[in-house]
Symmetry: C2
Subunit: 337 residues, 2 copies
Amino acid sequence: MNLDICLQEWMPLIELELQQVVALADGPGLESLHQMLAYHMGWNGEGAGVEARGKRIRPCLVLLVAAAAGAEWQSAIPAAAAVELVHNFSLIHDDIEDNSTLRRGRPTLWVKWGVPQALNAGDAMFTLAHLAVIRLQETISPQLTLRAAHLLQETCLRLTQGQYMDIAYEKRGDLTTEAYWPMISGKTAALLEACTGLGALVAGVSDSTYQHYRSFGHYLGLAFQAQDDLLGIWGEAALTGKSCESDLLSGKMSLPILYGLQQGGSFAKRWAEGPITPDEAPALSAQLEQEGAREYTQAKADELTAQALCALHQTHPRSGACQALETLSRLLLRRHM
Amino acid sequence: MNLDICLQEWMPLIELELQQVVALADGPGLESLHQMLAYHMGWNGEGAGVEARGKRIRPCLVLLVAAAAGAEWQSAIPAAAAVELVHNFSLIHDDIEDNSTLRRGRPTLWVKWGVPQALNAGDAMFTLAHLAVIRLQETISPQLTLRAAHLLQETCLRLTQGQYMDIAYEKRGDLTTEAYWPMISGKTAALLEACTGLGALVAGVSDSTYQHYRSFGHYLGLAFQAQDDLLGIWGEAALTGKSCESDLLSGKMSLPILYGLQQGGSFAKRWAEGPITPDEAPALSAQLEQEGAREYTQAKADELTAQALCALHQTHPRSGACQALETLSRLLLRRHM
């Protein structure tokens, strides 16, 4: 099972399912609502295309896990669409909450259509995600479909809990790395845990295997975020698609920054004095590295990756799909989703 | 079956179920998120109490229909909580979209905690509604629970579609009463249709009876909105809890106003010239009445009420519960929810 070949075969079917679900929002007099959703999904409007869609890594993870756990991957397509819709709903609302004007290189929904319509379009996307997962009843039993719906809803609750912490943290100067893990468990890891959990549910695995698959997604999510935070300061712009040291400039409470604050050294002193200017950023990222933040973050990311792969192997996955999952994990840990 | 006695018995149990579901959002470090949700539900903070909670008419409608259709009303409690949570989620987001500073006489969530946290708290409430309806699996079959979840999700989609139209209409001067019905079908009637549909689903009625119950809720919702629009211009402040002619001042596209615009008379001419001042409002509401808008709106509300009650009787409801439903309908058509 080759990842590239899978992606080539699966991607058009994921996209088709997504389009069918999003079309549920369309109707007489509702063309512009549908247009907003399709714009955000990267299907229409200026700059539409593959780049504007994101990598659709989450739906691929669902399908790969379903295959690894012994299901026909096709039967997991409704779940794959559901997680991608949840991801995109959360981006629409995050962009409003963070006042972000660009998403995947294009103006955000609220910039183009105003906050009220963008907020409401996000609600519509949220609902579509729940409608998507219920479509599983066409491929699996009502009992399993209900478990899948429940997992997706619990995941959404954890997303909002993580987002609550993220917003609340912005105003606090007393945070340590302890505060980091519950936040990204909700903001990042919960949805990847849902991806692997949904794939396993569709395959109807035992409870212990199900838990191992969820752990795989959970640790993968934490590892991804730690790695992403590292790249947010020391990554090459070409690799990350954003400028170097950008997390220093935006003041994001990322793992290396929280580590640096905890050390109470030169970095922490400068941070307390107010926003960092682009001129200072290179010297400050070097200072942070010297204080051990880069090494600490890399070690955490490596440890979490190892935990993820350990959990994956405990599921006794089908070997072809397992290899593809390892490739996907490596891809995820180097690049933005 | 006396409505007052039912309400007295049911209300504490509805409130308990709501509190249990909302508590799912709580946890270490999440106390303020839970506090926001509890504030909006009228349970804590300044001004908390019965007045701050709204009338909880929707959950009562679910339980009454369940009883009328032959179920134990207790088994419908998760569905009753779900519709109330959907209603409250939509209020949190509507208040942001409409820039409303007061809700049931208290500062709105975004005024107290800022837009980002209020938006996210609304998302949490939305998720809790979906978690609430899934709790039906403790009282009814997985198949029926899935149908209930699907109905709730379709309803949420219709809510966002109605809200899309409402926001889009604000900028248009070319609307007729034709544009009104699809908007309020989504904004108001869909949720009442979900109330009656969920109650009927829990009772496991036949498809035709289910459709009649949904029609009852649908027409009741349309009738309620037409009546509410009438009271928004010609109601007594004491009755409606808001000042007279307030829809004239806010420029809301209500049914009598759309009717007046369609006539193209003195009212329409004045309306086109810009916002109405409080001084002008009494004369303008008299003008609108003279042009036939009040009579038209009352006739529509009466016609829709008759359609609602006709649909109700076609369900062959249990006589005690039917009487209570008729009383609730009358209550709904005179007062705000």
